[in-house]
Amino acid sequence: MNLNATDLCLTVDGVDHLNNVTATFRPGRLHTVIGRTMAGKTTLLRALAGLQKVDSGSLTLAGADFLKTPVWRRDTAMVYQQFINYPHLNVFDNVAFPLKRARLSRDEIRRRVRQALASVGLADFEKRKPAQLSGGQQQRVAMARALARGTGILLLDEPLANLDYKLREQLRDEFKALFSDQGDAIVIYTTTEPAEAMMLGDVVLVMHEGRILQTGTPQEVFERPATTTVASIVNDPPMNIFAGRLEGGQVTVAGFQATHVSAHLADLPDGAYQFGLRATDVSLASSGVEGEVTYVEISGSETFVHVVVGETPFVVQIEGIHDLALGDLVKLRLRPDRLFAFDEQGALVRTPSYDLVSVEGR
């Protein structure tokens, strides 16, 4: 019962919303689609649900043409970023609404609604009106409504985007357990957040400007990003990408002292490359190349320090909360053993080889 999209295209006013999207969505798997705002994620979900016509391409479910299936027969449920509940109905009736329309028996409705509400932790909230619920609870109601229908395809469009981070943290954990309970449903979940895509996804699809750039397990896309664009999208903060050269056993990066090339890059031919380095692999040091702090962000338990060296911007991630003022001068050190090498067009040439092994603790 795979859902297969082949070469889906949609152009609106000369802008590609879907550009030859080809993907296979499998039952019992959670697929996360990660991309920035406007990458085409919502359009893709709407096309799968039949809410958006495409210009060309095909869509099949278990081999049958899905594009010709009318919306109401598509067996899909969708949860939106901006949670939608009926304000005049209580929680029970909100969840029951589509089931009543489907003319299920009263007992069956009650059974399904109760089960769905229990699974999102709202068993005791049946009688409340949406306005009496917090944002997180309202999103859970919307989620329960989608789950209760028991559809074969569950589409979730950035369901946590409008919640604050403590709630996102909590719901992510809950969703993980919830989705592993959905049996054979095909679940497709869009997000702009790398950690969310990694945590929840069995399969991650990286989307940019209407195209699927890479599909793989979370580990594959994170450790072997096919292009600089993928590397930037799947890392938060985005991976640092900068131009450099390999020459006579040395790595040179504008503004930095040449360093001895690490083993993993040693056999690459000399020439110009784009290098990638995660924010965790750049550090503030007592010696190194000087740069100016342009911005400091705090993200839960980490500090992201934005630094400009010459013309090149870097983001440095340090554990814990640190106070740095804009305009401070700091010294940067790059870890040569962690460099990703891309060619000048941005295609992956070599990855650092550290994280594919499991170790006994450290």
Binding site: R36, T37, M38, S134, A161, D164, Y165, K166, E169, K176, T192, P194, A195, M198, M199, P218, Q219, F222, V234, N235, D236, R278, A279, T280, Y295, V296, E297, I298, S299, G300, S301, Q317, E319, G320, I321, H322, D323, A325, L326, Y354, D355, V357, S358, V359, E360, G361, R362
Partner: protein
């Protein structure tokens, strides 16, 4: 810019309510001149009530509000000389960007040359200098919010800038850059800023000091670093940091501190006996080690969550869950049995949900 003092201020929306039910329990606060503060907490925590008391929209049931020592408690908003930025941009749509920025100065009858110089200076900082002649209605929501802020900054004498969730209507992708702009601008002009938000990231990235509020009380005031390193309550430990701080209940009894029958060496002393002692330790500071040593405890690996550059392991120690956050390069333990180390200097004591420190 002014120093704002909140002296024994409390507020109840329902007259005669008992203090326990007040929207804002009586409190004492000082907002220093030229600093940025964020009021942060879940909805209903009292942060907006406090902001409205500062702006004069709400007259507190008790206490006094001082701006540079002058009692303004009875003064209406317009007499307080504050600038406000709301959730939704408030601009004059029919006016140009220039006239929007100049408006508050014209109302104050500044002369033309002085207005012009000031408007251009602020427009430069807002990056709107090349759009001064444009009608404001054509701007995007984030630029409109910058104008709202700019209208406060043009006035040299403004006592404070009050912002109420100013990023609410901004596209997620632009939130980051607008927050950055607001911070750059406030660092340049150094107004006293009080910024209300329910988003911890936003508060920590923006403000020099945070005031965490809950149930109408100010739970803790401090720099982001202070709140992270030494949360004054288990609530702040949960609210600040991701994942939340771990809290472990120690063995009861009069002897030395112990967890699951094994000694826990700590850098402080607290009275034992009647109250249950919990220790708090951040997931960033817990270590997985290979060899037994001081403060190591056997645990069982329950789950591994891959966040990308880090993994979060959940380990059960003495029957209690402990989260461990570690760099990806440290890999995943191969066996279910692991040794967890709680570094002595990073373990803090809590009783009845409050930090109790006596070194």
């Amino acid at each position: 810019m002014a120093q704002l003092d909140i002296v024994d201020v409390g507020h109840a929306y329902a007259p005669g309510a008992e203090e326990e039910r007040w929207a804002l329990k009586p409190l004492q606060l000082t907002f220093e001149s030229g600093k940025t503060y964020a009021l942060v907490g879940p909805s209903g925590c009292g942060k907006t009530t406090l902001l409205n008391i500062l702006s004069g929209l709400v007259r507190p049931s008790r206490g006094r509000v001082l701006f540079d020592g002058v009692d303004v408690t009875a003064l209406p908003t317009k007499a307080r000389n504050i600038a406000q930025v709301f959730q939704f941009p408030v601009i004059y749509k029919s006016m140009t960007v220039y006239d929007n920025l100049a408006f508050p100065l014209r109302c104050r009858r500044w002369d033309k040359a002085r207005i012009d110089a000031k408007v251009r200076q602020v427009a430069e900082a807002l990056d709107l200098h090349d759009r001064l002649g444009q009608p404001a209605r054509g701007l995007t929501a984030d630029d409109k919010q910058l104008i709202s802020l700019g209208r406060g900054l043009v006035r040299d004498d403004v006592a404070a800038v009050l912002m109420d969730e100013p990023l609410t209507v901004i596209d997620p992708q632009l939130k980051h850059s607008l927050r950055r702009r607001i911070r750059e601008i406030t660092e340049q002009f150094r107004p006293t800023v009080i910024y209300v938000t329910h988003d911890q990231y936003e508060a920590m990235s923006f403000a020099q000091e945070l005031l965490v509020m809950k149930d109408g009380r100010a739970v803790q005031q401090g720099t982001p670093e202070q709140l992270f390193e030494a949360p004054s309550s288990t609530y702040v430990g949960y609210f600040i940091g991701s994942p939340a701080m771990n809290f472990l209940t120690l063995d009861r009894g009069d002897g030395p501190f112990a967890l699951g029958g094994r000694p826990l060496s700590v850098a402080w002393d607290v009275p034992r006996g009647t109250t249950e002692v919990q220790v708090g330790v951040r997931p960033e500071y817990v270590k997985i080690v290979t060899d037994p040593g001081p403060n190591t405890f056997p645990g069982r690996l329950r789950s591994v969550s891959d966040h990308g550059a880090q993994r979060v392991l959940e380990v059960e120690v003495a029957g209690q869950p402990v989260r461990v956050k570690r760099p990806r390069e440290d890999g995943v333990p191969v066996r279910e049995e692991v040794l967890v180390q709680l570094p002595r200097a990073k373990v803090l004591p809590y009783a009845d949900g409050k930090l109790v420190l006596r070194s």
